[in-house]
């Protein structure tokens, strides 16, 4: 092989690997990213049943009901809309009524959000960053929701249904 051919093999090989990687990335970005929505955004956008997304908002006080075998239902509200959520599993340590929460899952046919993951990923003011930003944007932010704290505390707890 001449110098030129060798160089061509190297460059050709590299380009091939990069092309494969680019295809993989584009494909994965189309299929496997999850958007974040609040209940009022869900109402506006008419998200189809079965499409996965992350729902964020405040747990409606008084809405938490525990059923048999670790099944729980609660409502997530953002001041202008509320959405019922069903979950089966252990709720995170920092899950409280009236506090922020982020759940991942999809809507079912009856319009209930079936969560397979409930994250309580926030600091000690019980307010996830995404939820705080969304509430601020919609003008439902109250200052006592998130007092600036010097140290943040996070706990990510995940329950998986099989």
């Amino acid at each position: 092989m001449t110098r030129k051919q060798r160089r061509l093999v190297m460059i050709g090989g590299s380009l091939a690997v990069l092309a494969v990687a680019a295809a993989l990335v584009l494909n994965a970005l189309r299929d496997s990213i999850v958007f974040f929505s609040t209940p009022s955004m869900v109402a506006e956008k008419h998200i189809a049943a079965g499409k996965r997304f992350r729902l964020g908002g405040l747990v409606q006080p008084g809405s938490l009901k525990r059923g048999d075998n670790l099944a729980v239902t609660f409502e997530v509200a953002d001041g202008s809309a509320a959405l019922p959520v069903a979950y089966k599993g252990i709720l995170p340590d920092l899950f409280r009524e009236g506090q922020g929460v982020v759940a991942e899952g999809a809507l079912d046919q009856s319009g209930v959000f079936r969560a397979d993951t409930v994250l309580a990923k926030h600091d000690e003011t019980y307010m996830p960053k995404e939820v705080a930003d969304a509430l601020k944007k919609q003008g439902h932010w109250k200052d006592d929701y998130g007092k600036p704290s010097a140290s943040a505390e996070t706990q990510q707890v995940k329950g998986v249904m099989r």
Partner: protein
């Protein structure tokens, strides 16, 4: 008084770093040996002062001096001593101080052990090192001073984040920082080479041990962090593709590539320009990691505090160093002489392939980590890129890499024989096929992916062993000769085999854990029995206990199998009164390489308790693999060739004198 002394020491370190940034550069330019030697003294003095500053902060935490903001916010007088010490870096200010301390440590090590470096190179390296140090000293002193006082000292502190009150904090951050910051040395060497416009095989020989050292620590640091998350967060996950984890994985991938390309450069004097670029990129990714974690653009367990001013400051440092070094690279790289070419099928070719896949995999992680941030800035949409993305991109890129791993060491330098290598690997291939067939038969109807993946892992492990066997002539030569040969084999060859086998072993653990993990989630009352993977777990009772700065609810489980009692497991849920926060302390029972895992949920109204029980087969291999890799790295580091460095007659004579 201690706080002021610590603060003052840090200011002095900054002054020394500023001197070290300029004077040796001028010395190198003017050819003045005295000026160049200034770097050595200032680097050592810097280490002394930063060390003093760090010690001061440790003492403040140990003595619970709540008149210092940092201690007040992160400590508590009732906290056990070990957490008082580890709490020093369990917060933003302290962890940045640890960062610069380690930076100064590496600078000091180069100054102390760099006697065999050419004088100008050492001067340049230490000067670049001092630029980085100065930037971070400014950052600490201007935006995150750990020594600030409170006007009216409170009596009690606010305690450390309970999740961080664990031995993991004693090991994980220092290890990780030794890795992150260790790559600053290869960065400084690369920039110094660009400034000098000169680079040769000896350069690679000096850079390689430093890169290897940083890589060993980073490998252990990541593995340690993963195990910590596994047992502390309470749901048995060991890798979340969380941006903060990715921030540590990216420098690891780039660093692994650098380690391999430096071998090519040292042995064959090829790939020089690429090695320089990788050195720059690896440390740039470490800086990016620091930015992602410290700026607060991501909220996670690692983001201790969010303050926009800090984010902007680190972003500036990031742009300055990455932009600056890459511009220098663009301007100077063409002037470096290109190394020789080689056949695509050769050891060099295999290492290029390794680099290609590792950097591409690193790029996919980079995109997955930063795409959500970029999208939010551009469109305001909030998305999360999680495990599915990385499973679809990262995993497919790793498969060809894993297939290629055993071929690399069995190809010759310059021009290899692929057919010959394949013949040598036949045994390993057959072993892998047997593993696939057995697993397939065993788990009939199960996933077909798992047996294939494990087969691949077996191929990697067996391939690593085959290479050793080939080299020492096992079964081919008399046993005695083989043993003799094994003794004479360079330690680097042993290191390669161990590290490669470690990759395969970690893969076995990962596949087994994700495929055959079984779990039980439910509510148990005292006396109830849960059955998981053949084990019977009986909840005996639930009790309360008082810890030093927490109260905990402890559940006692008796674990049995086939009617025999094996052990008692006591998972608990701790409630930290000062912060009003609770943590879940999982109980682990190790059986071989597999583990039983129990974590507690809430108590229900009827007295039952929610529990999560997992059986995780072969889970320990996930962390045993990286330990093996690090051990391989250590063996390689102890290789005589690297220890001795580039031999110089004058140096040898001096060493003899010193010995007398």
């Amino acid at each position: 008084m201690i706080a002021e002394a610590g603060h003052y020491a840090l200011v002095l370190a900054l002054g020394l770093a500023l001197i070290q940034s300029v004077v040796p550069m001028l010395g190198a330019r003017w050819g003045d040996v005295a000026l160049m030697n200034v770097a050595r003294s200032t680097a050592l003095a810097q280490l002394l002062f930063v060390g003093a500053s760090f010690t001061a902060l440790v003492m403040l935490h140990v003595t619970s001096d709540f008149s210092v903001v940092n201690v007040f916010e992160n400590s508590h007088s009732m906290k056990p001593l070990i957490y008082k010490i580890t709490g020093v870096w369990g917060n933003h200010e302290g962890s940045m101080l640890l960062w610069v301390s380690i930076l100064a440590l590496f600078g000091g090590l180069v100054a102390a052990f760099g006697n065999n470096l050419p004088l100008t190179l050492r001067a340049h390296v230490l000067a670049v090192q001092a630029w980085i140090a100065s930037a971070f000293y400014f950052f600490i002193l201007l935006t995150s001073n750990p020594f600030l006082r409170i006007a009216n000292p409170p009596i009690e502190g606010r305690d450390l984040n309970p999740v961080l009150q664990d031995v993991g904090l004693a090991v994980h951050p220092p290890m990780l920082y030794l890795g992150y910051v260790g790559f600053s040395i290869s960065f400084s060497f690369a920039v110094a080479a660009l400034i000098e416009g000169r680079i040769d095989a000896a350069w690679a020989r000096w850079v390689r041990p430093w890169t290897l050292l940083a890589w060993i620590f980073l490998t252990l640091g990541i593995a340690m962090g993963s195990y910590w998350a596994y047992y502390e967060l309470g749901w048995g996950g060991w890798w979340f593709w969380d941006p903060v984890e990715n921030a540590s994985l990216m420098p690891w991938l780039a660093g692994t590539a650098l380690l391999h390309s430096a071998v090519v450069m040292e042995k064959r004097n090829a790939l020089r320009v690429w090695t320089i670029l990788l050195s720059i990129l690896t440390f740039s990714l470490s800086l990016l990691g620091t930015f992602l974690v410290r700026s607060g653009v991501l909220t996670s367990v690692h983001a201790f505090a969010t303050d926009p001013a800090r984010g902007v400051f680190i972003l500036l440092i990031l742009c300055l160093f990455i932009g600056g070094s890459l511009s220098l690279y663009a301007a100077r790289a063409t002037s470096l002489k290109q190394g020789g070419l080689f056949a695509p099928i050769s050891r060099e070719g295999a290492l290029v392939l390794n680099n290609l896949f590792l950097t591409t995999a690193c790029a996919t992680v980079f995109i997955g980590t930063l795409y959500p941030l970029a999208l939010e800035v551009l469109t305001g949409d909030k998305i999360s890129v999680g495990a599915p993305f990385f499973n679809l991109t990262f995993a497919p890129l790793f498969v060809p890499l894993m297939i290629a791993v055993p071929f690399g060491p069995s190809l010759a330098w310059k021009r290899g024989d692929l057919l010959g290598a394949a013949q040598r690997l036949t045994a390993a291939g057959i072993l892998a096929l047997i593993a696939i067939a057995v697993l397939w038969a065993w788990t009939r109807g199960g996933s077909s992916f798992a047996p294939l993946a494990i087969g691949l892992a077996v191929f990697v492990v067996a391939g690593a062993l085959t290479d050793l066997a080939e080299r020492i002539g096992l079964f081919r030569l008399p046993f005695g000769t083989s043993v003799q040969r094994a003794r004479g084999l360079p330690r680097a060859a042993w290191g390669t085999a161990f590290a490669h086998a470690g990759v395969g072993i970690a893969l076995i653990g990962i596949v087994c854990e994700t495929t055959w993990n079984s779990e039980y989630i439910g509510t148990l009352k005292p006396g109830d029995i849960a059955k998981v993977a053949g084990y019977e777990l009986k909840l005996d009772d639930i009790g309360q206990r008082q810890g030093p700065n927490f109260r905990e609810m402890v559940a006692r489980f008796t674990v049995g199998r086939d009617g025999n009692t094996l052990s008692v497991m006591t998972p608990s849920k701790r409630n930290f009164t000062t912060r009003g926060a609770s943590t879940t302390e999982a109980a682990l029972l190790t059986r071989g390489a597999s583990q039983l895992y129990i974590s507690l949920g809430d108590i229900a109204a009827d007295g039952g308790i929610a529990v999560r029980i997992y059986h995780k087969p072969m889970v320990l291999l996930i962390w045993f693999g990286p330990v093996l890799m690090a051990f391989g790295g250590l063996l390689s580091l102890s290789d005589r060739r690297l220890r001795v460095g580039a031999p110089k007659p004058a140096k040898a004579a001096r060493a003899l004198q010193a010995a007398e």
